[in-house]
């Protein structure tokens, strides 16, 4: 391992492209290289009236998984800023605050990302692998921080947002992986997402193509049923046309449960660092 890893890896892309499996496999990969890494995702998009949830931080199948809860993350931030647990607890419960968070787009991401970066600050050895929301949301997420910089023109929140943005946009700190399937449509969307992200942030954005049939059946194309053959040929064409833009090409796993699929991938992820 000659390249020093970043501190925050964001995995994004359309739902169902294998983000969760890949980000967990990547945590395993980092661990295998003796790095301290954890898998992190956001539990909820809005402040809910019904659920009383907490951030959870547990070890599952050998990796540390953190699920952040919006309310608790918000409470933590306000507590740090106003130096009062009581006031923070009261504020997050007010209908006014809840409406504000739920109504103002991207406020939730600001809260979450604040918490993520705080965690990174607390432990300088830690590498966070963030399983980010599906495409459109990833843009909202990246954009929200800069939006808030324009909304708050001065004051503590402005300064905090500014710091967050600087870190998030620091290419030595953050790297974004867009995950795509090997189909024309999925690829186009990945390219759109990459372009959108590049317009908003100077950090490195790479595309990984997941679940490719072609490498498995390359030798037996003529024995495939028509649909699968067509699919494999489309993949071949896509890979040939865009190989230079594909950071990593991962084959379809013959396993059918997610843990084994994850294990299958671990060895192939060194390029993602």
């Amino acid at each position: 391992m000659n390249q020093k890893p970043r501190r925050l890896y964001i995995f994004t892309g359309k739902g169902g492209v294998g983000k969760t499996t890949l980000s967990k496999a990547f945590v395993r990969h980092l661990q295998s290289q003796n790095y301290q890494a954890l898998y992190l995702t956001f539990k909820n998009q809005a402040l809910s009236e019904v659920h009383e949830e907490k951030n959870s931080d547990i070890e599952i199948n050998g990796i540390r998984e953190v699920l952040l809860d919006l309310e608790e993350s918000a409470k933590g931030y306000i507590e740090r800023r106003l130096n009062s647990k009581m006031i923070a607890g009261w504020i997050v419960k007010t209908p006014f605050f809840r409406a504000l968070v739920n109504m103002i787009p991207g406020f939730n991401y600001l809260i979450y990302l604040g918490k993520v970066l705080e965690m990174g600050k607390e432990n300088p050895e830690l590498i966070i692998v963030l399983d980010a929301p599906a495409s459109g949301h990833a843009l909202t997420m990246v954009e929200s921080t800069s939006n808030f910089q324009h909304i708050f023109e001065s004051g503590v929140i402005f300064e905090d947002t500014h710091k967050m943005l600087a870190r998030l946009n620091d290419p030595t700190y953050t790297k974004i992986h867009v995950i795509s399937l090997p189909s024309q449509m999925s690829w186009q969307e990945a390219i759109e997402l990459k372009t959108g992200l590049k317009e908003r942030s100077p950090v490195e954005v790479d595309i990984t193509v997941n679940n490719c049939l072609f490498p498995l059946v390359e030798q037996n194309l003529s024995d495939l049923p028509n649909g699968l053959k067509e699919k494999s040929l489309n993949e071949k064409q896509l890979i040939e046309d865009h190989k230079s833009e594909m950071q990593c090409i991962l084959p379809h796993s013959l396993n059918s449960d997610s843990l084994n699929i994850e294990m299958d991938l671990v060895g192939s992820l060194s390029k993602l660092i």
């Binding site: 169902g16 006014f96 004051g155």
Partner: protein, 346 residues
């Protein structure tokens, strides 16, 4: 299996499952039966544009589409255009005139969901369509979209009423810029006042000013927003709305579909459809490979699909299966799916 046509047909799914293609093919199948159809997509990837041959100029505008003689209307959501239509229809101030609201209604600012509800409501009120087919944003977006309804409600909830009614009576003749801090000091609601004072501690006076103005300007548009609430009742009724929850074999995400359903129980009625796209079953049934790697592949694909179906059928009242269609031509692809929809039609 017969699917009855409703005034609203909503497609939800985790993205990458072919949701847009399915919604489009559904809209075409309905249009082919002489229904007057409007297809709305809020998918930011705007795939529909390519599929229907729409140009960049048509974003945000209802556009007549003619696909092989089947006529329908299509609308690609644009927050900006919806805001314009809103202020025209309801004679309200332009939301985008406020600094904060303007930033928040950028295409990825995230106001898409709420505005799309308003848009659907406005389009419904034109009475020009028998069916509005709605292709919602993927995954978590979908939940946001539904949450949008409760967001509207909570935004205009009790704690705001005091402030709003104060603003409403006192500011009718005052210039907006004159408001700001003075208002805060006068607002009686202890909670709101206290909260704004904390907010001021961490932001600045200008923000509070703009914020008050934003609240006020949104309040003036409340009629449009609150109409979204009427829509919620319609969407909840199984005589007015068909819900299609879409997932695909390729994704193998039964758990996510089930989770989607459990999140959505407040919003959707029990007569919903689970649409399982990209099924390989037919093709696998007639394939007898000899090479061991291909046998392993067939086995892995079949096992995944079988497990998925078993799981889904135990959780959903109706599972509609659509085959994987391998075609480079999106039009041909959609046409194939349209035929499948037609077979469910009544």
């Amino acid at each position: 299996m017969t699917i009855f046509t409703k005034s609203f047909e909503i497609f939800c799914g985790t993205g990458g499952v072919g949701k847009t293609t399915l919604a489009t093919s559904r809209a075409l199948a309905l249009a082919a039966q002489e229904h007057r159809v409007l297809l709305i997509t809020i998918d930011p990837a705007r795939r529909l544009k390519d599929l229907l041959g729409l140009s960049n100029d048509s974003i945000g505008e209802v556009t007549a589409v003619d696909m092989n003689g089947i006529k329908l209307h299509a609308l690609l959501m644009s927050p900006e255009k919806t805001i314009q239509r809103m202020s025209k229809k309801y004679q309200t101030p332009d939301l985008a005139s406020n600094r904060i609201v303007k930033i928040l209604s950028k295409p990825y600012g995230g106001m898409n969901e709420i505005l799309s509800l308003v848009e659907v409501q406005m389009q419904f009120e034109t009475s020009q369509y028998d069916v509005i087919v709605l292709d919602t944003p993927p995954g978590a977006h979908f939940l946001d979209f539904l949450e949008g309804i409760s967001k509207i409600r909570s935004f205009f909830d009790q704690s705001f009423v005091e402030m709003f009614s104060y603003l409403g009576t006192k500011t009718a003749h005052a210039s907006k810029r004159m408001l700001g801090i003075r208002i805060i000091n006068k607002v009686i609601s202890g909670g709101v006042k206290k909260l704004l004072s904390y907010l001021q501690k961490v932001t600045d006076a200008k923000f509070i000013d703009d914020f008050i103005e934003a609240v006020q300007i949104i309040y003036q548009s409340k009629e449009a927003f609150l109409k979204g609430l009427n829509l919620q009742d319609r969407l909840k009724s199984n005589s007015e709305c068909n819900w299609f929850l879409v997932t695909s074999v390729e994704q193998g995400k039964a758990a996510e579909a089930v989770e989607m359903k459990s999140h959505a129980t407040h919003f959707i009625h029990q007569d919903h459809f689970l649409v399982l796209n990209k099924c390989l079953e037919q093709e696998m049934m007639n394939w007898f490979p000899e090479a061991s790697n291909l046998m392993a592949l067939k086995n892995s694909l079949e096992t995944r699909e079988k497990e998925l179906k078993k799981n889904l059928k135990s959780q959903f009242p109706v599972v509609l299966e659509f085959p994987e269609i391998m075609s480079k031509d999106p039009i041909e692809h959609v046409n194939n799916l349209t035929k499948k929809w037609a077979s469910y039609a009544k």
